[in-house]
Symmetry: C2
Subunit: 338 residues, 2 copies
DNA sequence: CTGTTAGCGCTTTCAG
DNA sequence: CTGAAAGCGCTAACAG
């Protein structure tokens, strides 16, 4: 129950001085500062964060909405975000949405109720009505950053990689390895990311390969199970493809399992590629060729952008595109071997 | 900028009535309620969460400290925690500690500054001084729950599985499969969980096997890399073991990779077991025998316990032990085959 | 460099 | 069922 008043009396100074001692120690004479700190120590005083937040109208918290925190890609990005937020004095509120728009609305509302100073969206959904922090200035950008799944063009500041180009590179590599019929296993529909990767796959097949063929497109949802299921459907089709490009690593790992169970040799009978380069991709059998997304950079860039937006209302909204690189392992065959 | 006063004037009622309409709608006459809600709607009013938190002296937030959010075991548990918290009207603050005690202290301090109503610790470290919420009643249990890594006996409420028994079961299974020299690859030192699993391994070897042998113990830290490294050390030893019990699945997966690179056949030349049953365990080559931890239940139980503690100061602190089960897959050999 | 003072927006008695 | 009013603990002008 010890509050600022108690401490001020104990130290024989005003409450303002106590406040300053904690907020701006340099604005207080060293001798006074010591008196205050001693008194605070003695009274086991901790400034009340709730009162401070209330008074300053800032929660110093960032809501991060993530479709599924168990997805290793997201958890890596999230870790970098939390790290960056921490370094800048913000805490991270976790909002696992499971893709549920109602959940997203609830979490977004943390902005409206001032329980978060900003929001990062790692999912695909774009909010239509944003509960702006109650400012009358319509020109101030909303403290909202869209990560990975931002549509093009994006109405909000965003951070992502060039998914089209990365998917093109994967498909190009498969073609270079002598593959002709390359299936694509998609992520969730309506996801800009899925659309972009699909466009890259298509362009590569049309420019460099045998042309694209919609019968080579299979649905998926980024889960291990979806990868396994897709393989079952792929193998049931009349003419097998000779390669499968899974739109994320988890599906590729599920797919490898499905292929193993079906007795299909990878990469000899079927080449397999993924996307993301999660930690496990290096440990599959065979090791997975994939696209390395700069997870740490993505998280850092997004959080930095958001906090800049919050703290400096003049920061112009940006759409940052980071580099991704193709990581060639053994699941797509060895050089020199068809 | 629209606040409770604006709404009260618009609706022609007092601020108290507006407050009640949002807090306890049933305490307000239906006709009044409608007036208020209409006015709130018109003014686009959102109650200020910071003011509310300040006034009620509650943040409605739970700090969850986790050593590494990228670990699939933790992220699964965390997801269940967030779900449970959400259902009970709490948000989750993410505190990735990377095992750093200073970080842990900082996060723990959220209690002291009232920025969190409770703390869950998923790491091994036990706080010595807890910044109690400022109550004078020394008998009130601190809103702190220790998960998975709680020492025995635990000074705090806790949730965990019986690690000793589970490790015993793994080792027993390996012995039953005809293995004689069973190596153990540990988790972080000083972790109660590591100690318990080691004790189970040791007891099984002594009661059912050839006796335990400290030269079969290898250090680890729960990362993929650690598993791979441990295999290198194991294979460099004079006499190979014929089985390896990794104390978590990630190390086991790293270990499988190391064994593959060394040309050791699993399970024929070396049986491998893990611990946790993360989603990827079913998709390794060969599929991993492991201990299934009830991740969802652990998360739910811990969060429920903590919130009960917060909301009902009479809840007695408990130490909950949940069931874990051995999941036998192919990495430890097939029945009937030595 | 320090003190005085006025609230921030809301909840919560306490009366009526 | 509703209103009046006090005040949570702190910060930030402003004045000295």
């Amino acid at each position: 129950m010890t509050n600022i008043k108690t401490v001020s009396e104990l130290a024989g100074v005003s409450v303002a001085t106590v406040s300053r001692t904690f907020q701006f120690p340099e604005k207080v004479a060293p001798s006074t500062r010591e008196k205050v700190l001693a008194a605070a120590e003695r009274a086991r005083y901790r400034p009340d964060g709730l009162a401070r937040n209330f008074r300053t109208r800032r929660s110093n918290a960032i809501m991060v909405m993530v479709p599924n925190i168990s997805n290793p890609f997201f958890s890596e990005v999230l870790r970098a975000m939390q790290e960056t937020a921490f370094d800048r004095g913000y805490s991270v509120l976790l909002g696992d949405t499971q893709g549920d728009p109602e959940r997203e609305r609830t979490y977004l509302d943390f902005l409206g109720t001032r329980q978060a100073d900003g929001v990062i969206q790692l999912g695909a959904h774009v909010p239509t009505t944003l509960p702006f922090p109650r400012t009358d200035d319509e020109n101030v950008a909303a403290p909202f950053v869209h990560v990975c799944e931002a549509p093009t063009p994006s109405p909000f500041p965003s951070v992502r990689i060039n998914n089209e180009a990365a998917a093109f590179a994967v498909t190009q590599h498969l073609i270079a390895m002598g593959r002709h019929r390359i299936a694509a296993v998609l992520g969730p529909k309506n996801s800009p990311l899925t659309a972009d990767r699909l466009a890259g796959w298509k362009r590569a097949l049309e420019e460099l390969g045998a042309g694209s063929d919609d019968s080579l497109i299979y649905e998926g949802d980024f889960t291990l199970q979806a990868g396994q299921d897709a393989v079952a459907r792929i193998l049931a089709a009349a003419a097998h493809p000779d390669a499968i490009f899974f739109f994320n690593d988890e599906m590729a790992i599920g797919g490898l399992q499905g292929l193993k169970e079906a007795g299909i040799a990878v990469p000899d009978d079927m080449a397999v590629a993924g996307f993301d380069d999660i930690a496990f991709a290096r440990f599959t059998e065979p090791a997975l060729t994939t696209v390395r997304q700069p997870k740490k950079q993505i998280g850092e860039a997004a959080m930095t952008m958001l906090i800049d937006l919050i703290e400096d209302k003049n920061t112009p909204p940006q759409n940052t595109v980071l580099d991704a690189s193709l990581v060639i392992r053994t699941s797509t065959g060895q050089a020199g071997k068809p």
